[in-house]
């Protein structure tokens, strides 16, 4: 883990509002594992102030790629970077996916930019001759991650809300029938998707290894501010340090906690 300035060597818009930036970042590229992330400064001024966490998408030799969805001030600054610009990065951070050498058949489940860490994971798994199936969900076909960017050996399953591509419905609907085949499940995407997956795993395959990459708003990404904690069966855990990848059964899904009325001042106040 390092603080480094990476040169942008390429910036490609791979689908609407989603860019892949290729960075010259030898040390980070060599040490990164799928599921880890960078904490990226967006500009050199005071706004936006806080860095933005972005998964490592792929690495290749001295190059490292991130896939950025333009959703706000920080990400829109990043996607405007061009070849030659420098990007101030901290990372690789956190704990990535843990894949047991025994796992032969990997089922990957993604939604939105959650596909990013899964592609890197798929490439690593293929390299050691595992079989990979990647199921991806999106609102409509134009938001589906382009198949051309996924290794051919990967079985690519698509679900869209409106049925404009692949299966019509939730990507999690595709999971049950593939659970017998899968030795392990890895997911990254919207909270609701991962929570649904957690229910499926609990009901249908309570002992099958399954991991999820979680998200939370971050301050430091170094484990000191405790800003990114989520509830787990072991108490609060830091997404930036104990995560972002967790065992799916460790997570206390926020839905209940977020019910109306349960929000309000905590006993500990600020700080």
């Amino acid at each position: 883990m390092d603080l480094f300035s990476a040169r942008v060597v390429d910036n490609e818009e791979i689908m609407p509002s989603t860019h892949v930036l290729t960075l010259e970042a030898a040390r980070a590229a060599r040490s990164a594992s799928p599921g880890q992330f960078l904490h990226i400064r967006c500009g050199d001024g005071l706004s936006p102030l806080i860095r933005r966490p972005m998964s490592i998408f792929r690495t290749d030799g001295t190059l490292l790629q991130v896939m950025i969805r333009n959703v706000g001030e920080g990400s829109s600054w990043i996607v405007r970077r061009q070849a030659g610009d420098m990007l101030d990065c901290l990372g690789p951070l956190g704990r990535g996916f843990r894949v047991s050498p025994q796992a032969r058949n990997l089922l990957l489940v993604g939604g939105g930019y959650g596909v990013a860490p899964l592609v890197g994971l798929a490439e690593r798994a293929l390299a050691r001759r595992a079989n990979v199936s990647l199921a991806v969900g999106a609102a409509a076909s134009e938001l589906i991650f382009p198949a051309s960017l996924i290794p051919e050996e990967v079985e690519y399953l698509v679900a869209t809300d409106d049925g404009s591509a692949g299966y019509r419905g939730f990507v999690t609907d595709l999971i049950p029938e593939r659970l017998v085949w899968a030795d392990a499940v890895y997911a990254c995407g919207p909270l609701a998707m991962m929570a649904a997956l957690a229910r499926i795993m609990r009901d249908l395959a309570p002992r099958k290894p399954a991991q999820v990459a979680m998200e939370e708003r971050m301050g430091c990404a170094m484990g000191v501010c405790l800003g990114c904690c989520i509830e787990s069966t072991r108490g609060p855990l830091r997404v930036c340090t104990e995560g972002p990848v967790f065992d799916i059964r460790q997570i206390v899904w926020r839905e209940e906690a977020a019910a109306i009325g349960t929000r309000g001042p905590g006993v500990g106040g600020h700080g």
Partner: protein
């Protein structure tokens, strides 16, 4: 031919602990603020933490705390809000697990403590007494539940004096009292800390703020409100340091929005004897050490011999004295 002797290094030392049995001489005035540097170990992989003037550890309570539900942080213009809720390992674990590590370090660690009552503060001070690796105590009397229906409940002059006295009786360690900016009369609170036996006052803790997610129409923070830190509050910190340092005799430690050498210099000119860097470390982990390096040069180029010569130079009294010379 003999070369002339090198320019003498400016003296960066700062003494804290006029009233303490075990006064603390910081090698330099650049500390890192409580809650923004964990237990000191985390950033050690990234920067040379041993060069810091001191590390103030995350606020600790008697019993371990789980903290608030998330989201706990949210960004604001040139700042951030936090509502961590004092998640911490509890004082016993701090003494058994963290202090032994610190005992091996060059950099002094000051433990920030938050009690629920005067007795709890005193008990916690007792637990820290004589523990190798602990070089000072910072009382966090400003943090929990500052606002209740808009009234400032935690921190008035009497409470501050009572807590400070109780802790002073139990500890020989240098004692810093950290003050909230949102009190009715900050000068009297700072004076109460001094009268109660504080060796220094740390100014300031965060301001109460909030953000709302306009898509969901709900507060972003699960806790509704959070404490505002970062560059946005710097001009407010500076004024309070300028104000309070003219009314207390103990050193003032300036904290709140420091992000650059220039900020640190402004605070010292305003009357701070030392500074703490908080949120800026998240933005750029090298901030504190860069300030330290720049400070050395800034002192030299001003023809000062020691960092203390800068303290309070912007005060009218100091200006008049300089003019008279």
């Amino acid at each position: 031919m003999r070369l002339p002797p090198p320019d003498p290094q400016p003296d960066l030392r700062v003494e804290i602990g006029r009233n303490a049995k075990l006064p603390l001489t910081l090698r330099n005035p650049v500390m890192v603020a409580s809650g923004t540097f964990g237990y000191g170990t985390e950033y050690a992989r990234l920067i040379d933490v041993q060069r810091l003037g001191a590390i103030v550890s995350k606020g600790i309570t008697l019993h371990p705390r789980r903290g608030n539900r998330g989201p706990r942080v949210v960004e604001t213009p040139a700042g951030m809000l936090n509502a961590i809720g004092l998640q911490n390992v509890g004082i016993h674990k701090l003494v058994s697990d963290k202090a032994p590590v610190w005992a091996q370090w060059d950099v002094p660690v000051i433990v920030n403590i938050a009690g629920d009552s005067i007795e709890e503060f005193a008990y916690m001070a007792d637990q820290l007494e004589g523990v190798p690796g602990i070089s000072g105590i910072e009382l966090n009397i400003s943090c929990p539940n500052v606002w209740e229906g808009g009234r400032v409940v935690a921190e008035d002059a009497e409470t501050t004096a009572a807590i400070t006295e109780a802790v002073r009786l139990r500890t020989g360690l240098p004692l810093l009292v950290k003050i909230s900016p949102q009190v009715a009369d900050i000068v009297s609170v700072a004076r109460a800390a001094e009268d109660g036996g504080a060796d220094a006052v740390s100014l300031i803790n965060t301001f109460v703020g909030m953000r709302i997610d306009t898509r969901t129409a709900r507060p972003v923070l699960a806790n509704v409100t959070g404490g505002l830190s970062g560059p946005a509050i710097f001009p407010l910190t500076l004024w309070l340091v300028y104000l309070v340092s003219q009314h207390v005799g103990v050193p003032v430690v300036g904290v709140g929005g420091v992000a650059s050498l220039n900020d640190a210099l402004e605070l010292m000119l305003a009357g701070a004897s030392a500074v703490q860097v908080g949120t800026a470390t998240f933005v750029d982990p090298g901030t504190s050490l860069r300030i330290l390096d720049g400070l050395r040069e800034a002192i030299r180029s001003r023809g000062c011999a020691s960092v203390g010569d800068l303290t309070g130079l912007a005060h009218p009294s100091r200006r008049a004295a300089r003019a008279a010379r």
